[in-house]
Symmetry: C2
Amino acid sequence: MKKCMREGTADQRVAYYWGRVREQGQKKKDFDWPSTEVILNLAYTYDVLMLHWSKLLSRYRLSLSTMNILTILKYSQGEGHEQQELCQLLLVSRANITKLIDSLVKRGLVVRTASLLDRRVWIVKLTSAGDELFADFNPFLLKEAKRITSRLTGKEKKLLNGLFLKLRAGAAREGSLK
Amino acid sequence: MKKCMREGTADQRVAYYWGRVREQGQKKKDFDWPSTEVILNLAYTYDVLMLHWSKLLSRYRLSLSTMNILTILKYSQGEGHEQQELCQLLLVSRANITKLIDSLVKRGLVVRTASLLDRRVWIVKLTSAGDELFADFNPFLLKEAKRITSRLTGKEKKLLNGLFLKLRAGAAREGSLK
DNA sequence: TATTGTTATACTCTATAACTATA
DNA sequence: TATAGTTATAGAGTATAACAATA
């Protein structure tokens, strides 16, 4: 991976490619550069940040998904969550959440406990080992979040968060191509 | 997947969880909610948009990565690219770009041609079949980019693009945790 | 009948390291 | 020695459908 990235030049390279997209798009129907740029930027920024993030998490043998599960469970304050709720929060299918939870159970980080209200349901909870692991990685992530966003002012962060919301609203809107 | 998402409520659910993150984070050292929110928003917005995007691409039996490769090659206007350049543009390792290109070669969408300058190098180019497929999917993606960003004004799109750049600059900065 | 979760399967993507051949 | 690309391998993630138990 490292070998493929010459330090400090990735953004320039991408800019060069994007320039071509922009030029050659002009001729096309429905082309709107700022719109396209937003999508390219979202995907590329995600890749850059999450590549970095994944590397941090690999120290704890966690992926983004498993880290998210532990975090969600931690913030439930001992109540836990149904697997189905985790599906909704993580945008992961039922079949795949089963596998993710399986892997965490195997490592002793979470447990499945039966629901008293609905016998079809498992409530997933953090174990003390899971809690410890969370206490271990979470401070790093908070620090990193602060560092990564350090070039933005408070006002810009708020602005950015509002724009993200609008983007998602656009994606969810009716009339999408089926 | 669909079964796990009750229409129109995903954002509220996530907001509920984020509320807990925010509350319980307050006590912690290095916690800064707007910074954390930016990261959560980036990841979640990416997931929402790309889930949708992937569904569109699956009609063409393409993933985000393979779509990107075809697009990059298309915009090289017949010149093609070294695999190594694709690594840099896509943030994918050399080993893995080999596999991705293999799969496209197998489908007849791209070809590897020897470089005349360096005998270690393959130049990857779009075939006419690849070109046709691009002509097929690209208009949909342009339309979708426009639709997804339709809730943003032109000014907001520009703003957003600038903020993405700052985010990436922050991630790349020296002094990151090693 | 609908929902929660599991199982099975196949595919894609990623990470790592050892390897070949060129430069 | 360094670089471009390949091979091998193992693990993670995703998509789909069929299934059991329960509501």
